[in-house]
């Protein structure tokens, strides 16, 4: 691990989160997927403060292999729930970063995310908002996501279709 500490670690993490959000907004999902470690997970709980992804429903709880199917599906010409594909604008802020002590995780990064979503031809514009946790691993290729968890403020509300990752 590099000697990035304090402000250095925070600015490095912040740059990572911003780059990640830009990939999502650009619909560059394959590149987004590549940010995940091979053992990485993407988790959007369905209950506030949810601690268990196996004994309780989630909005998303996907390892890289399932996430890869999701991304591949989004590229299919007849993925009806994402035709036209939603346009999104992410805003990531209130970032904090700290070194992590557990094996395989080098940095734990918390932030607030908002994602505005619009599908052409649809009347509604939606706003998803919540707290993010990124557990990151330093690799020769750069930081990689071991866990991305998004706790939506309305995770237990009734929603319409959510075809893309947040």
């Amino acid at each position: 691990m590099n000697a990035a500490v304090g402000d250095d670690l925070k600015s490095e993490a912040e740059a990572f989160l911003v780059a990640e959000a830009r990939l999502l907004d650009a619909g560059r999902f394959e590149e987004w997927l590549a940010l995940f470690a091979e053992d990485g997970f993407y988790w959007v709980p369905a209950a506030p403060g949810q601690t268990d992804p196996l004994n309780h429903l989630s909005i998303f709880y996907e390892d890289k292999s399932v996430l890869r199917m999701r991304i591949r599906r989004l590229a299919h010409p007849r993925v009806y729930s994402a035709l036209p594909q939603p346009r999104t604008a992410h805003l990531v802020g209130s970032v904090t970063a700290a070194r992590a002590s557990e094996p395989g995780v080098d940095c734990e990064c918390r932030s607030t995310v908002m994602m505005a979503e619009y599908r052409a031809g649809r009347a509604d514009r939606r706003l998803w908002a919540g707290q993010q946790l990124h557990r990151l691993r330093r690799t020769p290729e750069g930081l990689r996501i071991v866990l991305k968890r998004v706790d939506l403020i309305d995770c237990d509300a009734a929603h319409g279709i959510l075809s893309i990752p947040i």
């Binding site: 196996l54 429903l57 998303f60 390892d63 729930s81 009734a158 075809s163």
Partner: protein
């Protein structure tokens, strides 16, 4: 009542092979459905495990009514309309909880778990004849509540057929779910999934047992799974279950044709199962399943266990508000909100006495099929919304439901049966719809 809602007019909207677009778009028809279908049929409200202890309560919806289901101190279950009898305020704002009773936040009228008005403040200012025991001051009650093996149903009509008569042979679906529990009991667990779509409630039921759409609607998830070659013997956090669920819609037409469809006069229907691979296959053989099967056999014996587990069905639609998938311990409640707006609430059950890993498969199933991010249901809901948008066009007036009409046949015990990709379930639903909608007030 306008002429367009008179029985003769309604009869002109439903033919064996087609239905009129007004069934999905006319707000007046929707209002009449709330009275004549949701106001008269037995509606699934809760599982007893959700209100197991005295004081437990849970909100449910019966057509237009917002209902609080409660468990009284004496263990009895009550269905109470969530409206203070004083100035009309919503009494209970929580979805679920435990309470000694309900106090109105406006002027503190307090009601018991049975709906009785227990106290009002400032008695000296009320007229002498004001009596808290006056039944008109108690919360309005769901007139009939009945339970079948832990499944609590309510009926807003004072009189009518019993729950047992309403369920008929469909009670087998509930039996099969409960019989799958090694301890003989099940409980709701693992959270509640909620979805809302901009479409009529009937689209959900039509789709539940429609065996022709998966090859088209779910093509993208099938293709994504097909491109992902997997070794099911290798370890995976979900036992490759997500992959299995996506890939299962890849059934060839002749395979769908091989499934049995069964409909009933009450609008109920069910279809055969189509998950034939991996940890969800009926004949699966993995350590979790072997452990579970042994526990079930210890309760029921080998012969009955084999019979219970051989019941390979997918959705069991109990018209008009619930769809039950016994084999995978899933339930979906369909709540109409407006002619073009519907809420779907889904949850799963824990089979008591079964291995924890089996419950985790039910949870995974729920996430895969009922989350807003479902890679399967999402495309179904997109289609419901497109149907609603499409039907805003006044012409053509009719929707075709003739597929398989010539092959429907009597199956005994009130059943109509057909092989495969028939629209038999649609026809069963609309025959029941018409009967309910034209029955004398």
């Amino acid at each position: 009542m306008p002429d367009t809602l008179q029985p003769d007019s309604l009869r002109g909207l439903v033919l064996p092979d087609r239905v009129h677009r007004r069934l999905y778009t006319d707000p007046a028809i929707f209002e009449l459905e709330m009275t004549r279908i949701f106001g008269r049929c037995w509606l699934f409200l809760a599982h007893e495990s959700q209100i197991a202890a005295p004081g437990d309560f849970l909100r449910a919806r019966m057509g237009r009514e917002d209902v609080i289901m409660t468990r009284g101190r004496d263990g009895r279950i009550h269905g109470l309309v969530n409206r203070c009898t004083h100035r009309g305020a919503e009494l209970c704002a929580l979805d679920r909880g435990n309470a000694g009773g309900f106090a109105c936040p406006y002027h503190a009228w307090t009601f018991g778990l049975d709906g009785a008005l227990n106290s009002v403040p400032h008695r000296q200012s009320l007229p002498p004849g004001f009596d808290v025991k006056d039944p008109r001051l108690a919360l309005a009650r769901v007139p009939r509540i009945e339970s079948y093996r832990g499944f609590v149903f309510g009926n807003l009509a004072l009189e009518g057929e019993s729950l047992a008569a309403f369920l008929g042979p469909m009670a087998e679906a509930i039996d099969n779910l409960v019989d799958r529990a090694p301890d003989g009991d099940i409980e709701q667990a693992g959270g509640i999934a909620r979805q809302e779509y901009r479409g009529n409630w009937k689209f959900h039921h039509e789709n539940a047992n429609d065996t022709l759409h998966p090859g088209f609607v779910h093509e993208s998830s099938v293709a994504a799974a097909r491109a992902d070659a997997r070794d099911y013997a290798s370890p995976a956090y979900d036992g490759h279950q997500t992959h299995t669920q996506m890939l299962s819609n890849a059934f060839a037409l002749r395979e769908w044709q091989g499934l049995a469809l069964t409909g009933f006069a009450g609008g109920h229907s069910y279809m055969g199962g189509f998950y034939k691979a991996g940890v969800l296959a009926p004949d699966r053989d993995d350590p979790v399943w072997r452990d579970y099967r042994a526990k079930l056999a210890a309760r029921h014996g080998e012969e009955k266990t084999a019979r219970i587990l051989a019941e390979d069905r997918f959705n069991n639609l109990l018209y008009p508000n619930v769809s039950l998938n016994a084999q995978y311990q899933q339930i979906r409640i369909v709540q109409p909100l407006a002619v073009d707006r519907t809420r779907v609430t889904a949850f799963c059950f824990r089979l008591k006495g079964a291995p924890e890993a089996l419950f985790q498969r039910a949870v995974r199933f729920l996430t895969n099929l009922s989350s807003p991010a479902s890679m399967i249901l999402g495309d179904d809901i997109e289609i419901f919304e497109r149907c609603q948008s499409g039907l805003a066009n006044p012409v053509p007036e009719w929707l075709d439901q003739s597929r398989g009409l010539a092959s429907d046949r009597e199956g005994g015990g009130g059943r109509v049966v057909s092989a495969g990709v028939s629209e038999l379930p649609h026809r069963a639903q609309y025959a029941a719809w018409l009967r309910y909608m034209t029955a004398a007030a």
